[in-house]
Symmetry: C2
Subunit: 341 residues, 2 copies
């Protein structure tokens, strides 16, 4: 005989299927004595719920979805994602909730997957990353009516729970620090321009430069790849009046930039200070180790998972959540311009 079903348990325990279902799901409708008996029988027969059957009945599927719209090859490169994934998993697996992961080409495909998974009851909720400026995914999620946690920026539009860190404040802390040790010409290798956090950082940098009376800061948009990071760095460094400090939006780009500097004979931090907006092993293990914003991406993942699980349990709307503002970890890639080392 194959796997036991609730019908088998019902027969064995001498009750109806319905009673078994009530007992196993801890809901009223059976006496304590009966519930115990049923649970014991289920245990004995080594019963496991059949997820498909559950999902068909409209109940939970105990899985959440994460769809990432970036070329598959670049995901592997980004420590941010793998760190986030780790954090998510840590919490989700503790609750035996699986993660449905899919990488797609573009936002249109991403929305299509949302629709499909929702209509198939494949997942109970979504995690949304890479929030865009006028994000077309939010209305879709609203329409689907599944709970979702959106990573990035506060703001309205969509009924999803938002979790974010204060990018603006973070950028200000970088600029304040650089200005304090004497830098006047700061450049910025930004990320994809239609991401909300990219814009927020660019604006923060510009505002801070004005306030502190620095030269107008240059923000160069990139696709987050090491290739563009290296290329843009090379361009910046070979111009007259080159910056004395560069802020990189991701650690991969920062490390690539560090490599370019070395290659061009520009000493770091002697002639160029480097700050990474993202901290990971990467920033720590290169030489010199990079001054970086330490945002605990793992913890972020944990928080996202926790919030989503709460939302699944129907714990009210659950309000937006701000993560602690990342603090700058000063390492050896920064020093006063023209300074020693």
């Amino acid at each position: 005989m194959g796997r036991p079903t609730i019908a088998d348990i019902a027969r064995q325990a001498g009750v109806s299927k319905g009673a078994v279902s009530f007992a196993l799901n801890g809901r009223p409708g059976v006496s304590e004595a009966t519930r115990d008996r049923i649970l014991r029988v289920a245990e004995e027969m080594n019963w496991r719920p059949h997820s498909a059957a559950r999902a068909l009945g409209g109940a939970r599927s105990d899985a959440v979805g994460l769809v990432i719209a970036r070329p598959a090859r670049t995901i592997g490169v980004e420590p941010f994602f793998s760190q986030l994934l780790s954090g998510l998993q840590a919490v989700l697996s503790a609750s035996s909730v699986a993660l449905h992961l899919m990488v797609v080409e573009d936002t249109a495909a991403e929305m299509e997957v949302y629709r499909r998974w929702a209509s198939e009851h494949r997942v109970d909720g979504f995690i949304v990353v890479d929030l865009q400026v006028k994000d077309p995914r939010l209305p879709v999620l609203d329409e689907l009516g599944l709970p979702a946690v959106v990573l990035g920026g506060p703001g309205k539009g969509g009924n999803q729970l938002r979790i974010w860190a204060d990018d603006r404040e973070a950028m200000l802390s970088i600029v304040d620090y650089l200005a304090a040790i004497g830098h006047r010409r700061i450049a910025h290798l930004a990320g994809l321009p239609h991401f909300q956090h990219t814009q927020r950082r660019i604006r923060a940098l510009r505002d801070a430069s004005r306030r502190l009376g620095l030269e107008e800061a240059l923000s160069v948009p990139t696709d987050f790849s090491d290739a563009e990071g290296a290329a843009a760095t090379r361009t910046l460094l070979s111009r007259p009046g080159r910056p004395t400090a560069i802020v990189y939006d991701s650690d991969v780009m920062a490390v690539a930039g560090l490599g370019v500097a070395g290659e061009m004979g520009v000493s770091v931090p002697g002639e160029l200070s480097i700050v990474s907006f993202d901290d990971s092993v990467l920033a720590r293990i290169v030489h010199p180790p990079l001054t970086a914003l330490s945002r605990d991406t793992f913890a972020l993942g944990e928080q996202v998972a926790r919030s989503l699980l709460e939302a699944l349990d129907g714990a009210g709307p659950g309000r937006d959540l701000q993560m602690p503002t990342p603090r700058l970890t000063v390492r050896e890639s920064t020093s006063p311009p023209g300074g020693g080392s």
Copy 2:
């Protein structure tokens, strides 16, 4: 009205549910004319199959499982996994097969997840990584009867399809190269000792050293973390008769080792040559860029996914598959011992 079901299509097209099912699945039982009509109606109504309903009927669930038994925090660090994931996704998403991902603490928990997912019909097959020496997971998978693709080593035990690259040959190519440019004292920072590929590499190094008449090579086991990589490097370099070349089993450790060398004032490659067994952006973007074994992990992921999909389609047992032996990419972290920069 909610999503259309085949009953809706049947009504609209004036046929029975059964006919619709036949038509949509391309099986005999309906005329060409009727099939076309049904397909057109389905298209018009924007019908999507409900995966749960399908799975309930005993059919496929269109998802495969990947369970990784490592501390969640370390996954994010390992480019190997994220690259592999990317490759898997590239193929899976093209076939609209989702990936069920879970990170657990140990092998026991991993096997438990296999059992659960199998009995819940949550997945159609598994991808198994980190093959161990006497791997307890293989009998479990046999028992569950689901197709699986195992990453690592050829060999018997288990009915799963195996995919691997020739670690032995790869290690030999590294040692041959190092010996050819004059190295006699080679050390090796290995991975977790109960992994099959770790043992294979250690043995290959020892054999090659004997054959080439080098000093007995030292293999130090680690947990793959940057911390242990750094610590072991420090130990090796501060001993008298220190190695002139170190082979690292992962790029994270190699980069960490590079950092330690810099810190200790040991010039690379002047006084120490470094080879990484794993190539990734990491190896390319540090300075100096690392000589590394280029195994295309992304392609490996693609191949694994393809093989698993084939197995799902019941394409016979499908025999074991060897990936091209990784070839050594010489960069600037290696040179003759005592040689110039």
